[in-house]
C-alpha cells in the first residue's frame, strides 16, 4: 500500500505539492489527473525515490521510499523521456535493467518483443518515438516490480499499440496484482484503465476516490424553463459549471441526482434530463471550479 502523509515538495520558492495525503491500495490502477504543473510528475518522482519530500512522508508498505533499496526494487518508473536510450539496443537496455531488478522476467520480455515485433539488435536511435516507448514499456513490465509508475507514458503510441499495451497492463494487474499509477492528460486512457483517480491542481489534491464515486457524485443536467432563469437562480444546488444556450441551461452539479431533480422541478422545467458525463468533463468542471481557465486545458 502506498501512503502520502502530508507531503510537501518545493522547488526553490515554488510550491509543487502542498500537504498531499492520499492512499493507494495494492492492485489498483490509479490515475493522476491535473493540469500542467499540477504536481503529477513530482508526485510520481517522490513515489519512486527520485525526489525527497520537504515535509511529510511517502511510505510504501509502511517503509519510507527515499534511499531504500528494498522499496525501490518494487518500483519501476517510466517517464516521458526516451532520448537517454539512444545509443542502446533493446537487448542492451534489458541487460542494463536486468542487473538491478532480480525478478526480471525473460519470458515476459520475449513475449512482449514478439507481440511488438521490435528489432532487438538495432540502436534505439533508429526507432520512432512510439517504438522507443514500446521498448521502455516492455522493460518496465519485464522487471516484474509490484508497482509500475507511468508519467505520460502513452504519448507516442499509436491507437493499436495503446490497446495492446493497455491489455498487457490489465493482464499483469490480474495475473500478479500489479499496482499501476499513471499520470496522463488523456482522460480517456485513465477512464479506460484506472479504477481510482486523484485530481491535483496547483499542488493541492482536489479529490482522490474510486472512479465510480467520481461519476456518482457528479451530474450533467440539461434543463429548459418557461421563465428566463440563470444558473445563479439555483442557489440550492452545488453548481460547478454552467452554460446557457438560448433557453437551455447545461450545468455540472454535485450531489444526489434525485435531490437535484426534485429541487429543479420546483422551477417547473420544460426540459429536465441528465446527460452522460465523461471524465474529461468532470475534470474540466472541477478545474474551473478551482479557478482554472478551461481554455488552457490540454485535451
Amino acid at each position: 500500500m502506498i501512503e502520502f502523509k502530508n507531503v510537501t515538495k518545493r522547488f526553490g520558492k515554488d510550491l509543487s505539492l502542498d500537504q498531499i495525503s492520499l492512499t493507494i491500495e495494492e492492485g489498483t490502477a490509479f490515475g493522476l489527473l491535473g493540469s500542467n504543473g499540477a504536481g503529477k510528475s513530482t508526485l510520481l518522482r517522490l513515489l519512486c525515490g527520485i525526489y525527497k519530500a520537504d515535509d511529510g512522508e511517502v511510505l510504501i508498505d509502511e517503509a519510507s521510499v527515499y534511499d531504500n533499496i528494498q522499496v525501490k526494487s518494487d518500483m519501476f518508473f517510466i517517464n516521458d523521456e526516451t532520448v537517454q536510450y539512444q545509443n542502446m539496443t533493446v537487448i542492451e537496455l534489458k541487460d542494463h535493467y536486468k542487473n538491478y531488478y532480480r525478478n526480471f522476467k525473460e519470458e515476459v520480455f520475449e513475449r512482449l518483443m514478439e507481440v511488438t515485433k521490435l528489432p532487438s539488435d538495432k540502436k534505439m536511435s533508429t526507432f520512432s518515438k512510439g517504438m522507443k516507448r514500446q521498448a521502455v514499456f516492455i522493460i518496465g513490465l519485464s522487471c516484474g516490480t509490484k508497482y509500475l509508475l507511468l508519467d505520460e507514458a502513452f504519448d507516442g503510441l499509436d491507437p493499436a499499440m495503446r490497446i495492446i499495451v493497455k491489455r498487457i497492463l490489465v493482464d499483469e494487474m490480474l495475473d500478479r496484482k500489479l499496482t499501476l499509477i499513471l499520470s496522463s492528460h488523456n482522460l480517456k486512457e485513465v477512464n479506460d484503465i484506472c479504477d481510482h483517480v486523484a485530481l491535483l491542481h496547483e499542488g493541492r489534491l482536489l479529490f482522490c476516490k474510486d472512479l465510480q464515486s467520481v461519476y456518482e457524485g457528479f451530474h450533467k443536467i440539461q434543463a429548459a424553463f418557461s421563465r428566463d432563469y440563470s444558473a445563479e437562480d439555483f442557489d440550492g444546488l452545488s453548481i460547478v459549471q454552467s452554460e446557457k444556450l438560448g433557453s437551455v441551461i447545461t450545468m455540472g452539479v454535485r450531489g444526489d441526482i434525485e435531490e437535484i431533480k426534485t429541487y429543479l422541478s420546483h422551477f417547473h422545467p420544460i426540459l429536465l434530463e441528465e446527460i452522460p458525463l465523461t471524465l474529461e468533463e468532470i475534470f474540466i468542471y472541477e478545474m474551473e471550479a478551482n479557478g482554472y481557465d478551461a481554455n488552457g486545458i490540454e485535451h
Binding site: I69, K72, N99, Y100, Y101
Partner: protein, 691 residues
C-alpha cells in the same frame, strides 16, 4: 515479494556497465601504450627521441581523461534526461556515488598501472644479455640504472596520485554544478584557482612581509593542494628529492587532500537534490568560493603590479559581472550581482590592506623566549657558507647556547629592520669616500651609485637564511631573511658547537667513498672505502673540528687546500690528516704550483681593501664571496711575468678566513681568497705593479 539487488553486486554491475563503451577504453589503452612504454622503447632500445611528441600528446590525452571520464560517468548530475533513469534504480545514493566513482577510477587507473608495469618490464629486459647482444650498446644493472629505475617508479607514483587527484577534483566539481557548461568550465578553472589563490596569498601578499617566506609557508602548500602542484613538484624534483622524505610526505598529503575532496564530493552528492539538474551551480558556496578566489587572485595581482585603485576595481568589476551574467544566464536581478561584487571586493581589499599595513598582524615581529623553545632548525652550513638554501637538510639546534645565539641573531635582524623602516639609510649599504677608493675597487658590491664629488655607496651582498622555531606552547614558525654578513656573524659561535659539528659531519658523509675536492678548481676525487673506515674518518674530523678555537676557525694560521665533502680541512685537523695519510689519500695534488698551473691561467685578479666611513664593520672573507665589480684582473702575459709573485700570494691565500682588518683578496677562477693582513705588503706590491 520484495526483490533486492545484492548490496555487494552494485559495484560489479556498475563496472560492467561502464566497460560497455569498448571504443573509449581501447583508445585509452592505446594512448597509455604510447606514453611510457613507447618512450622507453625509443629512448633505451633505439637511443632515439623521435617519438617524444607522440608521448607528450598521449600524456595530454590521458590527463584530459581525468576530466572526460567523470564527466561521462556522472553525466546524470547535469543532464535532465538521465537523472530519472539513474535515481530510480534500486541503489542508495551512497552506492550510486561509490560505484560510479570507483568504477571510473579503476577503469582509468588500470591502463596506467598496466603501462607502468610494462615500462618497468621493458627497462629490466633492456639489461638482459639477450637484448644487449642484439642492440648497439649495453645497459647494465649498475647504480645509475637502479637510480633511474627508482626514479621511474616514483615518477609513476606521482603521476598516479596526481591523476587520482585530478579525477577526484572533477568529481567534486560535478557534485557542485548542475549543467554541462558549468561542469566543463568549472572543472577547468578550479584547477587553476587553487594554486592561483595559494600563490596570490603566499607570494604576492605575504611574501612582501619581512621575514615571511613563500617557500616555507606556501610553496609546500602548492605542491599537494592541487594536481598541478603535484606535477610542479615532480617537474622541479626530477632527482633524488622525488623519493626523499619530502617527496613521500608531499605524496601522502596529496592523497589526504584527495580523500578530503572525495569526502566533500560524497557529502555534496548525498545532499544534492535530483531537481538541481539544470541549475548552474547547485552548491552556491562553491560558486562564491570560485568568485571570491578569482577576485582575490586578480586583486592581489593588480596590487603587485601597482595598478591604480580605480583601474583595478573597474577591471575586477568587469570580470566579476561578466561571470555573473554567464552564470545567471542574463541580467536578471543584476543589482544582486553588483552587491555581491561590492561585498567580495570589499573583503578582498580589506584583507590585502590589513595584511599589508599590519605586517601580517604583527607576525613579522614575532619572537619567542628561550624558555618556550624546544628546538631551532636552521638551513645553515656555517658562517662561511652563505648559500644556505642550496641544502635540503637543516641543522637542528637544542643546545641552549646555540638557541640563545639564534635568538640574538633573530632579534638583531628584527631590530635592524625596525631601524631601517625609520631611517632612510639602507642597512646593507656602506658609504665610501671617493679618495678612499683610489684603486676604484669595491668589496663584493653588486651596484654602485655615485654621489656628487664626495662619496660612493656600496651595496653589500646579502645572504639567505631560514630558521624554524619549534615552540613548546603555540604554533611553530619559520622565518626567511636576507641578512648581511655582519648579522650572520652572530651565528658563528654555533659552528664550533658539538651538536652542529656532529650534524654537519653526518650530512657530509658519503656512503661507500670519501670525496676529496680542491678548493680552487673544485675538481674532486672519490676514494672508495669501507663503511667502518669512513665512519672512523668522520669521527676524526668531528674531533678535530671540536678542538678548534674561534680564532683558528675564523683566521686559520695556515691556508686550507681541500675539502672532504663540503668541509674544508685545516692544517690543525691533525687526526684527519693523519687518517688520510694512513689510508693513502693523495694530497700532493693540492700544491700551490698545481693551483697556479690548473686554475690561475683561467682567471686571476686582485681586490684592494677599502675604507668605509659610516663605521659599519666591513668583512673580508673568501670562500663563497663573489667577485667585486672591478677587481684588477691579470692578463696571460702578466700571469707569466709575475709568476713568482702570484705563487707567493697563493701560498698565503686563505679559502676559509674572515676578518674586519682591511686586506687584499685574490680572485682565482670565480671565487675569491683572502690574503691575511700580515701579507698585505706582498699583495700591495703586486697590485701596484699591475697598475
Amino acid at each position: 515479494m520484495t526483490q533486492t539487488a545484492s548490496s555487494t553486486s552494485f559495484f560489479g554491475i556498475s563496472l560492467k556497465e561502464k566497460l560497455k563503451n569498448k571504443r573509449f577504453w581501447t583508445i585509452l589503452i592505446i594512448t597509455n601504450l604510447l606514453t611510457g612504454p613507447l618512450y622507453i622503447l625509443n629512448h633505451y632500445y633505439f637511443d632515439s627521441q623521435s617519438s617524444i611528441w607522440i608521448t607528450i600528446l598521449a600524456s595530454l590525452v590521458i590527463g584530459a581523461s581525468a576530466f572526460v571520464i567523470p564527466l561521462s560517468f556522472f553525466d546524470y548530475l547535469y543532464q535532465k534526461t538521465k537523472i530519472d533513469d539513474v535515481l530510480k534504480l534500486p541503489l542508495t545514493r551512497k552506492q550510486l556515488f561509490m560505484s560510479d566513482y570507483l568504477s571510473g577510477l579503476i577503469l582509468y587507473l588500470v591502463p596506467i598501472i598496466g603501462q607502468f608495469l610494462l615500462s618497468m618490464l621493458l627497462l629490466l629486459l633492456r639489461t638482459t644479455r639477450f637484448i644487449n647482444s642484439i642492440l648497439e650498446y649495453d645497459v647494465t644493472m649498475d647504480d645509475s640504472f637502479l637510480r633511474m629505475l627508482r626514479l621511474v617508479f616514483f615518477t609513476y607514483l606521482f603521476i598516479i596520485v596526481g591523476l587520482m587527484f585530478l579525477y577526484t577534483l572533477t568529481v567534486f566539481v560535478l557534485s557542485c554544478v548542475g549543467n554541462t557548461f558549468e561542469a566543463i568550465t568549472a572543472s577547468l578553472y578550479i584547477n587553476l584557482l587553487i594554486p592561483g589563490v595559494i600563490y596570490s596569498v603566499g607570494y604576492l601578499l605575504l611574501n612582501r612581509l619581512f621575514g615571511i617566506s613563500f617557500r616555507t609557508l606556501f610553496q609546500q602548500l602548492l605542491y599537494f593542494t592541487s594536481p598541478g602542484g603535484i606535477l610542479l613538484y615532480w617537474f622541479n624534483n626530477l632527482n633524488r628529492f622525488l623519493y626523499s622524505g619530502t617527496g613521500l610526505w608531499t605524496l601522502f598529503l596529496a592523497l589526504l587532500m584527495t580523500l578530503g575532496i572525495l569526502f566533500i564530493s560524497y557529502r555534496n552528492f548525498i545532499r544534492r537534490k535530483a531537481e538541481s539538474v539544470g541549475t548552474g551551480f547547485v552548491n552556491r558556496i562553491f560558486y562564491y568560493f570560485i568568485m571570491a578566489s578569482l577576485t582575490f587572485l586578480l586583486a592581489a595581482f593588480f596590487y603587485q603590479l601597482d595598478i591604480n585603485f580605480i583601474t583595478s576595481v573597474s577591471l575586477l568589476a568587469f570580470i566579476f559581472l561578466t561571470f555573473e551574467v554567464i552564470t545567471n544566464r542574463g541580467f536578471q536581478k543584476f543589482y544582486r550581482s553588483i552587491l555581491r561584487f561590492a561585498i567580495i571586493s570589499a573583503i578582498t581589499g580589506c584583507s590585502i590592506f590589513l595584511i599589508d599595513t599590519t605586517e601580517g598582524f604583527g607576525v613579522v615581529y614575532r619572537t619567542t623566549d628561550i624558555s618556550n623553545i624546544k628546538s631551532v632548525s636552521i638551513r645553515y652550513n656555517g658562517v662561511l657558507d652563505p648559500d644556505t638554501t642550496a641544502y635540503d637538510n637543516s641543522i637542528i639546534l637544542k643546545d641552549p647556547e646555540n638557541i640563545r645565539a639564534v635568538l640574538a641573531f633573530h632579534q638583531r635582524v628584527i631590530d635592524d629592520y625596525i631601524v631601517s623602516k625609520i631611517s632612510s639609510e639602507n642597512p646593507n649599504m656602506v658609504r665610501v669616500p671617493v679618495e678612499a677608493t683610489k684603486y676604484s675597487n669595491y668589496p663584493d658590491s653588486q651596484t654602485t651609485e655615485a654621489i656628487p664629488e664626495e662619496y660612493y655607496y656600496v651595496y653589500l651582498p646579502t645572504y639567505d637564511i631560514e630558521i624554524s622555531f619549534d615552540v613548546k606552547n603555540g604554533i611553530d614558525y619559520t622565518r626567511f631573511y636576507s641578512v648581511s654578513f655582519d648579522q650572520r656573524m652572530l651565528l658563528a659561535s654555533i659552528d664550533l658547537s658539538d651538536e652542529y659539528i656532529d650534524q654537519i659531519v653526518k650530512q657530509n658523509s658519503n656512503p661507500g667513498s670519501i670525496i676529496v675536492s680542491d678548493v680552487y678548481d673544485y675538481s674532486s676525487i672519490s676514494y672508495p672505502m669501507r663503511k667502518e673506515k669512513i665512519q672512523e674518518l668522520y669521527h676524526c674530523l668531528a674531533r678535530d673540528m671540536k678542538k678548534l678555537t674561534m680564532e683558528e676557525y675564523l683566521t686559520p694560521s695556515k691556508p686550507t687546500r681541500f675539502k672532504i665533502g663540503e668541509i674544508p680541512i685545516l692544517e690543525s685537523y691533525t687526526e684527519t690528516l693523519a687518517f688520510l695519510a694512513d689510508n693513502y689519500v693523495n694530497l700532493d695534488t693540492f700544491s700551490t704550483k698545481t693551483i697556479y698551473n690548473n686554475s690561475v691561467a683561467n682567471n686571476f685578479g686582485i681586490l684592494a681593501p677599502i675604507e668605509n666611513t659610516n663605521s659599519k664593520p666591513l668583512y673580508y672573507y673568501g670562500y663563497y664571496s663573489y667577485a667585486a665589480t672591478s677587481p684588477m684582473y691579470v692578463n696571460s702575459e702578466q700571469i707569466e711575468q709575475f709568476r713568482e709573485e702570484i705563487i707567493t700570494l697563493l701560498d698565503h691565500a686563505q679559502y676559509q678566513y674572515i676578518t674586519t682588518t682591511p686586506c687584499y683578496r685574490i680572485i682565482v677562477g670565480k671565487w675569491s681568497y683572502v690574503i691575511p693582513p700580515e701579507y698585505t705588503d706582498l699583495a700591495e706590491q703586486l697590485y701596484d705593479k699591475l697598475r
